[in-house]
Structures are given as C-alpha cells and as structure tokens.
Amino acid sequence: MHTIESEDLQPIHPEPTSFWLKYVFSRDHKVIAKQFLWAGLLFLFVGGTLAMMIRWQWAFPGKPVPVLGSVLLRDQGGAIGPATYMTVFTMHGLIMIFFAITPILIGAFGNYCIPLMIGARDMAFPTLNLLSFWTFVISLVLVICSFFGQLGAAGAGWTTYPPLSTNIGTPGSGQTFMVAAIFVTGVSTIMGGINYVTTVIRHRAPGMTYMRMPLTVWGLWLTAVLNVLFVPVLGSAALLLFLDRVFGTQFFIAGAAAVRGGGDPILFQHLFWIFGHPEVYILILPAWGIVGDILSFFSRKPANWYRGSVYAMCVVTILSAVVYGHHMFMTGMNPLLGQGFMLLTLIISVPAEILFLNWLRTMWQGSIRLHPPMLFAIGMVFVFGLGGLTGLYLGATATDIYLHDTMFVVGHFHLTMAAASFMGSLAAIYFWFPKMFGRRMSEPLGKIHFWWSAVFITLVFTGQLISGYAGQNRRLYNPYEYTFLKHLLPLNRWTSYSAFILMAGQLVFVWNFIHSLVAGARAEMNPWQVGTLEWSIASPPPHHNYDVIPTVLRGPHELADPLVREKLGRDWIGQDEPLLEQTPGTSAPAAAAGRG
C-alpha cells in the first residue's frame, strides 16, 4: 500500500466541537479508550471491594464486616449471610472478568494502541466503536440492576452452571439481569473485535508489515480474533439460559423439574467452556504482547526472537480453541477423551515456554531501566510463571481429580487471569499514561505501588494454592464447619490480611493516577525514548493522530543498533525515521538492507 492510497482511505476528519460529540458520544478511538478505562477502573474497584468481603468471610466467618457491613448489609446485622455470600463471590468473578479486565486491557488499550501503533488515523469503523462502548454501558446498567434485583444479585457462581443458575437453583431477577448483561457485553465485545481485526488488516501504515507490528498489536489482534470467534458461543449459552429463566424453556433443566425428559445441564458446560478456555487467553494475550514490548524497551535491546514470540502467540491462539475439555474432567467424560484434552493442554506449555524464555533472554545482558512499567512487566512475568506452573497440575488428569474444585484452582487462575492481567494492565497504564493524558505519573509512587502490589498479590494467591492443596474446597461459606479444614483458619486469616493490605496499597495508585492527571509534570513527545509510532507524535496525540500517515521502515524494537548510535548519537530509532540519506517511502528496502 502506498502513502497516497492510505491517505485516501483515511482522510482527516475535523474534530467535533460540541461537548457531547467530543467527550460523550465520541467516535475518536482515543476518547473511547479513555471511556473504557474509566469504566473498567471503576468496576475494578467494585470487584475488588467484593473480593475483600469474601476474604473477610474466610478470615472471620459470620462476623460483621467493618465499614461496609453497616452500609451494605444492615438487614443482616452487618455480617454476610450464606445467600449474600453466594452473590458476593459470583458478582466478584463476573465483574472482574467481563467488566474490569476486559474493558481495561481490550477496551481501553485495544482502542488506544491499535490505531496509533500501526499508524492509522482511527479504527476502521468509528461508529461501530461508539456503539461498542455504549452497548457496554447498557451491560453495566444491567449489572447495577442485578445488585438491586429481587432476592439479591446473581448467585450461581461466575460460571453460571445450571441447574443452579436456573430458576430452580437461583430464583429472582438478579441472576436474570446478570445473564442478560453477559449477552449484551458479549455483543459489545464482538463489535470491538470486528473493529480491531479489520483495522489491523486494512489500516496498517505503508511499510507496517505483519512482522513489523509491535507485540502489543499482535497480542491485541489475536485476542480480537478469539473474541470474534468464541464470544458468540458464550452468547448462545447466555441466550438459552435466559430463555430458560424468562420463558420457561427446558434447554438446561433436568431432574424433578424437567418436562418430557428435560434438557441437559452438561450442555451448558460445553458451551460455556468452548468459550471459556479461549477467554483465559483473551485476557492474557494482550498482557503478553504489552509485556513483550515493554521488556524490550526498558532493557534497551531488541526483543529476543521476535518472530518466535509472534508464532508462539499464534499457536497458543489456535490451541486455546481445542483444550476446553480440561475444565470438565469431572463431568463423567470418557477417560480417553480426557487424556486427549490433557495432551493438548500440556502442549500449550511449549509455546508458553518459548514466550517465557524470550522474555528472559530479552532482559539478559540488557541495560535494564527499572521504571514502573518495567517493574510491572517483570512482576507479570513472575506471577504468570507461578500461574503457568500450577496450571500443569490442573491440566493433568491424575492430579486434577484430587485438586478439582479446591482453592488450588482458585489460586491458579487468579495468578494467571487476575494477577498477571492486573500486572499487565498496570504496566500498560504506567507506560501509556504520558501519551494518553500528556502528563507523567510519579515514579517513586509507582515504585511503591509496584512493590506493595507484587509482594501482597503473591502472598494472597499462594495462600490460596496452599489451602487448596490442603483440601479446602472453593466457595465454602464457612470452611471451618468441617473438622478437616479447621486448622486452616490461621492460614486463611493471614491470606486475608495480605488481601486487605493489597487493597489498601491500591490507594497509592488511585492518588498517583488522579494527582498526575491534574498536576503531573508535562510529558514530552517521547518520554521513554522508544521507536514505536505512537511516540513520534505529540502527547496527547491530535484528533487525527498523524498529520501525514507515516511510512514504516523497520520493526518496533530497534534499540542499541551501533549504526544508529553512530549516525544519530542515541540508542533508539523511530519505526518511520529515515536513517540513511533518503526520503521516506522511496527506498525503504535500502534502509532495511542497511541494518541487515
């Protein structure tokens, strides 16, 4: 594609001047990204508060919750009753996955990074992007409705398994609202996914070949592909469950309530996990990509075996579609089928190891600069390593039968989906904050936030691993009613203290974020001294991003190139910056050949 053609495809549109079109119903990907970020951070706080209530119950079962109890649980004397407890852990899971991590990693950074990093003026379908956000808002309204639902919020667990999630197990409108919210947020995610996939295919700047795209864009793009293909399967499950709840159909109802044989509860599990396993990679692939880039930028070295990382991410994307059965080893599945799923699951560790070794080799002998984004990226590598290794125990049928449905599972998926995604999101926030808001965040506060979070997030989730290994089932209202779990009270109490301290530590981030937004030092164009395209324009970028669509000459991690140091006197070079005597776009191959 030539420059003139891409200018033709993406003409500069004037910036809207009215408040509503500029800040509320905006079609600008940067504004929509910030809207997703605010919504996601708000619901991250809600989900975190719910987590604190769960941890309180496990540390002090049946005791009145301080502060929150007197506000939220007045009718239960401030304590969390068994029914409320069900709604608390259900809403915690659903909110964190669909309404916190998804909007932050995919909604905010997908929207923000994809067009800027591939040199586009906006998404391929700006109006669809607008609709995607406002559909998401509708789903948020449904979530809020669920909290005020008759008989309380949704309470069938985040996996929403029938028959517990049907009217027989969980009557009341709270669960129905939540099932509807999942469907609607799925529609929003699919709209976003279609937009991201199309944008990357069609709107890359001239010279931005697939193998010159930043790893961040690769991660987000593969996530979008998975979203487009597998979120609709969740949509079908949510739709059928919604019909069962509202119109009395019998897709998932079995047993005494069934009419004419009834439906099949296990069918829901199949539909759910056909989506659910890709979903865990949907949540981690963007973080992998972001971390891959940030480790390279702050080690001042090109990413080790860039293509290997790209291929590994592609292989994981494909394999993620064929391993879902490992969530269902205990459903009476044929053992031979279980072994097949086990084999495929364990094969995923090969590309995951490639990525992992690439991250370590990227840092090896680098001039590492421990800015907050780098710290969080390293933290992500660490917690993801723990989460990945504990995943092996659950992927293998022999150990899974013992560990199934224990806190070990909870610890494992929190280390990967919660801790690793959390670290990845924060690395991204600290890294792109100057570009998004034109101001710098405080470095000392960022470092305090990192060490505080890293230490206590590890303690919380390893505490869960240990209690699960000791046999504590997940979701128990009061585990200490069982004699064999009584001795776990001190362990769980210490884990809860870690969780409370972790939550308190986030105040440092909230203060840093808001204070920097208002009074942070002005950020220059390229504060981190890196070469990807978004750092070659003003912070924050103008409405149309690029005055002239850049012509890309090289890959994203051209750091520490001796030729560049000789010619320009610095260790980095922009992706579109001509190095030799040439005009952009005329002899790009010569430049590529020049760096060998």
Binding site: E5, Q250, R260, G263
Partner: protein
C-alpha cells in the same frame, strides 16, 4: 447487441478500498454469527440425540407445507436481492428499485408466515415450557425471526435509498453488505427448515 457493448455491460467497476474494508467487517460479523448459530444448532443436536423420541409423541406435529412455502419466499427474496446488486453493478439502475422492493415484500411474507406458524402451533398446544422439543422449536425459530426483522429494517432502508436512485456501479456498498446479511439469514433458515421440520 454487439460483443463490445456486452463486454462493457459485464464490466465491474473495481471496488474502492473503503468498500473492501466494510465488506471485510461484514465477513467477520457473519463469521462470528456463524459461531453463534453453530452453537445453537449444536445445542439442538445434543438435546435431540439424548431424547428417547423426537418429536415426542404427545406434542402437535410440526407442519411441513407452510414453512416449506416460507422457505421458498426466503430463497426468492435472497435471489431478488442478489439480482438488485447485479443490476446496480452493471448499471441497469431502473431495475434496482423493483428488485429490492420484491426482496422486501417477500421478506415480510416470510415473517408473516412465521407468525402464522407460531400462532397455529401455540393454539394447538405447543408451549415453550413443554419440554426440550418446543424449547428448541420456539427458541431457534424466534431468534431467527428476530434476525429477519433486523434484516427487514435494513431492506426498508435500501428501498428508500433506491427510491432516491442512490445506487450505481460504484456506489452499492450498503446494498452489498445487506445482501450478505440477508443470504446468511436465508441459509440459516434453510438449515433450520430441513433439520427441524423435514428430518
């Protein structure tokens, strides 16, 4: 007509880049929705395979003729819309509006037929809460019917556009996108007809 004129008539203007982008978006959307319907059909298959008798002996039999006529209406509507696209591409602009209108009317005939079908079966005593068979029947056909309704809004918009003569050999991207959607809805219906009513 000489060969030269014929070759001009068969000439297709190259697609603009933004049209190709829009079409790619439509393909992705339809791919996504294929997964949605594939999952629904899979659910239907599982329920059907695990039930001892399908349909159960004590529920009203599904008719074949009315939905069969509906299938014909749906297919005819799809063909008419494809013809409209072809006319627009080849520059036979006066023929575009009648073709789109025909597709629009046939679409409404299909939906009216579906409503009649649901009405008849409801009166015969087939209710959604009567077990897996009516669940599948109402769930899948009504969900499909909603997609037809969305398509009819699109076709209505196309009719107003065609009435203003806004389509031409290089200006038909909206027509092309709705054409893709309409064929998709039609194919889903044909699959539903054969698996639900005939088999």
């Amino acid at each position: 007509m000489t060969a030269g004129v014929a070759s001009i008539l068969r000439y297709r203007a190259p697609r603009s880049r933004s049209d190709a982008t829009a079409w790619l978006g439509m393909i992705l959307f339809l791919g996504s929705w294929t997964m949605l319907f594939a999952a629904l059909f899979a659910a239907y298959g599982v329920l059907r395979l695990r039930s001892p008798q399908w349909p159960p002996p004590d529920v009203p039999r599904l008719p074949i003729l009315l939905p069969g006529a509906n299938t014909l209406a749906m297919v005819a509507s799809s063909v008419a819309l494809q013809r409209a696209l072809r006319f627009a591409r080849r520059g036979r602009l006066p023929a575009v509006l009648p073709a789109i209108s025909a597709a629009f009317v046939l679409g409404w005939i299909f939906l009216a037929g579906q409503v009649a079908l649901w009405f008849n079966l409801w009166r015969a005593g087939l209710r959604p809460d009567g077990g897996p068979f009516p669940s599948v029947f109402y769930g899948l056909t009504v969900f499909h019917g909603l997609h037809v309704l969305v398509g009819l809004f699109g076709l209505g918009w196309l009719v107003t556009r065609a009435a203003k003569a806004s389509f031409g050999p290089t200006r038909h991207v909206g027509l092309r996108l709705w054409c893709g959607y309409w064929h998709f809805v039609g194919v889903i219906w044909v699959l539903l007809y054969f698996t639900l009513f005939v088999l």
